[in-house]
């Protein structure tokens, strides 16, 4: 069918993923596992899965997302468990709703594991090359479809690959420009070239591109640091894995160290601010608020006598130490000078200087909730190109883009996770309804249903969905079903046993009661059938059951409106009762449900009611109201 356009394609795929970072890897993995003939086009196969910045996965809010990716049948959890060198469960002192797994990873091992998974993945081909142009054709206008659709990509070396679906996951590579003091150099990462053709191709297709900035700190040689002056930060004694498939983590664990800047460090930085690209105007794109450079911290929080720096090993055999908390784009000689003032780093040898990087992104008002672009049919975008920051955010989007690209090819409806289903759903909803103007990072506070979206129950929430769409294989599904059955059984047992006049399950809801204590009252052979994992899950579920039930009731009430679908062909401009501003905003975002519409910046509850009435009227007589 493509031959009709006479495009002289060299190869034909169902789907092409551009970029092999964390978004690209998940997208390609998901698409291929769903049975689509997939190509992952990357500049270097050995750079697939590379961690550009800190050698860590997870963290608060982010760890929950990794669990979700895993529960849906994604890659990141499995790889982290295989490549982790230190595991910590953050927020352990608080309730399980905010427990967040985090791991330090061996950079080399991490990338190698991703490559291993992808190389052995059926239906997936890894192609080395640089995409020069997106190939599209016009299509008959029908008032609904975009005017152009994807047919493939053109590589720098002249090869043309055909596919009806293309996912761009270019990270920081599109027109990447690195700053180190006054020095500027083009590139997507240290030592890797930038992608220039892609930006031009997107602009030619009519996309508006924006510019964002992020930074990375220096890497030091591990043998040049005086550890005796530093506080050690070990991992958890009983490391908790990310993947629901991993039962135990057996690898050797490594510690991190903590040091601090001091007044002398700050003096040197202050004296050289006129040479910091962020302050001289050399960089004027938006930076990350929650990941400020050391110069920003010194300027904005002038009264703080010191700032924390984590020294994180990049792997078992790696000589590189990552200085977390010290991102900077100051010139090399200034970096050198202030480094010397920091305890433990007086004689540190720098293997790679810190730098800032500016790159192109596609502001998300041009994107649908499915992560398909509005302008070109079959073109999907995921990861930093959508203005997010972080591996986990990228991976979550990659997974969804991969799934939805395949579903589109098959004529199935897009998978759009709701805000009460997953952090991934919260993230994509935020991105589309309130397009961010700075790199977007996940926090638990972004989730209004935080108590539902826990890291412990990600499998309960999402594995059935992953199974339904075909991404959860038999191995994972069987494990899930066994676990679910054991949970139900233990709950039944607790429900059937009375203690102090109420059932044990009710008893367990009291904050001060623990399951293990309660179980001592039951016969041993009954109790031993349930693993610690099962017991913990039952206990957590019981503790939250009150709040969860309340939230579900609340959700049910809103569901009717939340899920009320807005027909694709609706013309908001024709709804006269809507305020002009509301019409414009709705037209720009094109929400698919009333719930989504209600979260758009500047849309009031009254607007939603008016829209709802309009939809109801349409529903009753589809032909009476002209469009």
């Amino acid at each position: 069918m493509l031959i009709r356009y006479n495009l002289n394609m060299d190869r034909t795929f169902d789907l092409i993923v551009i970029g092999g970072g964390h978004a690209g890897a998940e997208a390609a993995w998901a698409a291929a596992r769903l049975g689509a003939k997939t190509a992952l086009v990357t500049m270097q196969i050995e750079a697939i899965g590379r961690m550009s910045c800190n050698p860590a996965i997870g963290g608060i809010g982010k760890g929950q997302m990794v669990r979700e990716i895993d529960a849906l049948g994604g890659l990141m959890g499995l790889v982290t468990d295989a490549a982790g060198i230190q595991f910590r469960l953050l927020n352990r002192s608080k309730g399980p709703a905010v427990w967040s797994p985090r791991a330090q990873a061996d950079r080399q091992l991490y990338a190698a594991k991703v490559q291993e998974f992808l190389l052995h993945c059926l239906n997936l081909e890894l192609v080395e090359g640089v995409v020069e142009e997106l190939l599209t054709v016009e299509q008959e206008p029908d008032g609904l479809r975009p005017l152009r659709r994807m047919v493939g990509v053109q590589l720098q070396d002249g090869r043309r690959l055909a596919a009806e679906s293309v996912i761009i996951t270019s990270g920081t590579f599109m027109r990447g420009l690195m700053h180190c003091g006054e020095q500027k150099s083009a590139g997507g990462r240290v030592g890797e070239q930038a992608a220039v053709g892609l930006s031009g191709s997107l602009e030619a297709l009519g996309f508006t591109l924006g510019r964002l900035k992020t930074g990375t700190p220096a890497r030091l040689h591990r043998d040049s640091i005086h550890y005796e002056d530093l506080a050690v930060q070990p991992g958890d004694d009983e490391p908790v894995p990310f993947s629901f498939l991993t039962s135990r983590l057996e690898q050797r664990m490594m510690p991190c160290w903590i040091t601090h800047t001091n007044e002398r460090t700050h003096e040197i930085i202050r004296a050289n601010l006129d040479r910091a690209p962020m302050y001289t105007g050399q960089i004027n794109s938006t930076g990350v608020r929650y990941c400020p450079s050391i110069e920003t911290k010194v300027v904005r929080f002038a009264d703080q006598p010191r700032h924390q720096i984590f020294l994180e090993p990049e792997g078992y055999d790696s000589e590189r130490i990552y200085c977390n908390g010290m991102g900077t784009s100051l010139p090399v000689d200034v970096q050198e000078a202030f480094l010397r003032t920091i305890p433990g780093l007086e004689q540190a040898r720098v293997l790679q200087w810190g730098y800032a990087i500016e790159y192109d992104f596609i502001p998300t008002r041009q994107t649908h909730y499915s992560l398909e672009t509005k302008r070109v049919e079959g073109l999907f975008v995921a990861g930093q190109i959508n203005g997010t920051s972080g591996y986990e955010e990228a991976a979550g989007q990659g997974l969804i883009a991969g799934i939805n690209a395949v579903r589109k090819l098959r004529g199935q409806p897009a998978l759009i996770l709701r805000r009460d289903q997953a952090y991934i759903g919260v993230m994509i909803d935020d991105l589309i309804a309130r397009p961010p103007d700075e790199p977007y990072r996940m926090f638990t506070s972004r989730a209004e249903y935080r108590l539902l979206l826990r890291s412990d129950n990600a499998d309960q929430r999402l594995t059935p969905i992953g199974r339904e769409i075909g991404l959860v294989d038999d191995l994972r599904w069987n494990r899930f079903e066994q676990k679910a059955a054991a949970i139900r059984e233990l709950e039944k047992l607790l429900l059937a046993t009375r203690h102090d006049g109420i059932t044990m399950l009710e008893y367990l809801r009291r904050p001060e009661q623990s399951l293990n204590q309660l179980l001592t009252r039951l016969p041993c052979q009954l109790v031993e059938r349930y693993s610690a994992e099962i017991r913990q899950q039952v206990e957590i579920d019981a503790k939250y059951s009150g709040y969860v039930a309340r939230m579900h009731r609340e959700l049910e009430r809103f569901q009717k409106v939340e899920q009320c679908r807005i027909p694709e062909q609706i013309d908001f401009e024709q709804i006269r009762e809507l305020r002009i501003e509301a019409r414009q905003r709705l037209t720009a975002v094109r929400p698919e449900t009333l719930g989504q519409a209600s979260r758009i910046t500047g849309i009031t509850p009254a607007d939603i009611t008016v829209l709802w009435i309009h939809l109801e009227a349409r529903r009753r007589t589809p032909n009476a109201i002209p469009q």
Binding site: Q308, I613, H614
Partner: protein, 475 residues
Amino acid sequence: MFDRLDETIVAISTPPGKSVRGVVRLSGPEAHAVAGQLFTDNELLPENTRFPQRRHGVLQLCSVPASGGVRSAALPAERWLFYAPRSYTRQHVAELHTLGAPALLQLVVEQCCQLGARLAQPGEFTARAFFNGALDLTRAEGVAAMIHARNTAQLRVARAWLGGRLADRFQSIHQRLIDLVALVEADIDFADEPIEFITPAQLQEQLHTIINDLEQWLGRAQSSERVAPGLRAMLVGRPNAGKSTLLNALHGSPRAISSPQPGTTRDLLSVRLSLDCGELELLDSAGWDMTTAPQDQPGKNFFFREWQRADLLIYLLDISIDNPEAHLLDWILRDARPVMLLANKCDLLTTERCTVILQQLQARSTHSLLLISAEQGIGLGAVRSWLSQTIIHAAQTVDDNGLILNARHRDALQQALPALYQASRWCQSATAIADVAEWIATDLRAALHMLGLISGSITTEDLLQRIFTQFCIGK
């Protein structure tokens, strides 16, 4: 708001102001139950039947005024129960018919709320009727337009309200709460930072001041609303100046009988006028020879009392008569309230003549002055917008008595309080915020959501912004 069709809503459904009979209406699954509980006899009525039920009974009311103590009252009332789907909204509907005193009706509504009903939003009964299929399509657009207008109006009034002194105090409470939520959220999201964002004792102390402020406020607001349900505008003018014609034209339907005969209107007539930014009560009075000021009239009558209570005056002048400026009387000119002079019947004169009269009037008066023809509908838009402006102005200058702390605002505050109490209890039991942060955050955000209904909702971005400006966070 409108999405919660399964909640029971309540509102006064008779026009504001005193009348012989007042009706409070409820709609929703619990409508019958809530209505039943208000009656002393609590007679059980059929749960479902085809026919409306009507019973006489005694309403048991009690109130807890801010001044302390408990007041209770027993009122004769009639209870009408309509059964789903044979009702206006196609849900269970209950109507309580009793005396038409605004304060009493308000109290009935409050008691219904305590029993689980929620105050209806403007247009909500009609919207329910529509969604449940009781209204046909031709009215759908009308419903939408009405909700739009009412909500825009509310928004503007709320904004105006939020521009005044009262607003500063409310904003400060809201901001303080946002700050607290931000700190608790920070404790969750930035647990690996070496910062103690807030201690349970500090949090509890701050919560207590917020709770105190809100409680005090609610106490005052409750009493104030019963006294002043809204602005009243009074039409004043000589007989046959065209007051009733103007009232009909502004209201859009013939409420007052008007005729070319002077003295057609004998008693006082009141209509509710919906304007861009709110509503006001418009009073039409019988015209009288205005040579003596009302306060100097012998035997201060009903008209005088209404005149005294009016918040603004609309003085209508018939300029088709000779020497109209002579009828511009001193007591009108001296009135300290907002006064609008309307030079009516301009359609009967030439443009030149109108200009001359306008100049003569302007020379004598500092009040707003407009040339109109009530009969022909000329200049009515300007009258409406002047009234709107006056409402906004009044809203901005309300003092601490909280004239415009309306039912919805109060409802929001009342729902915010329990969440704050719960958050405060969590603080009590904790040695570190970390122990209870997730629970406190849930309650505080619920409270914040309710306050957001008054002054606009806030997003996570707002919270994060606060954290990032206050603390050095991030690696």
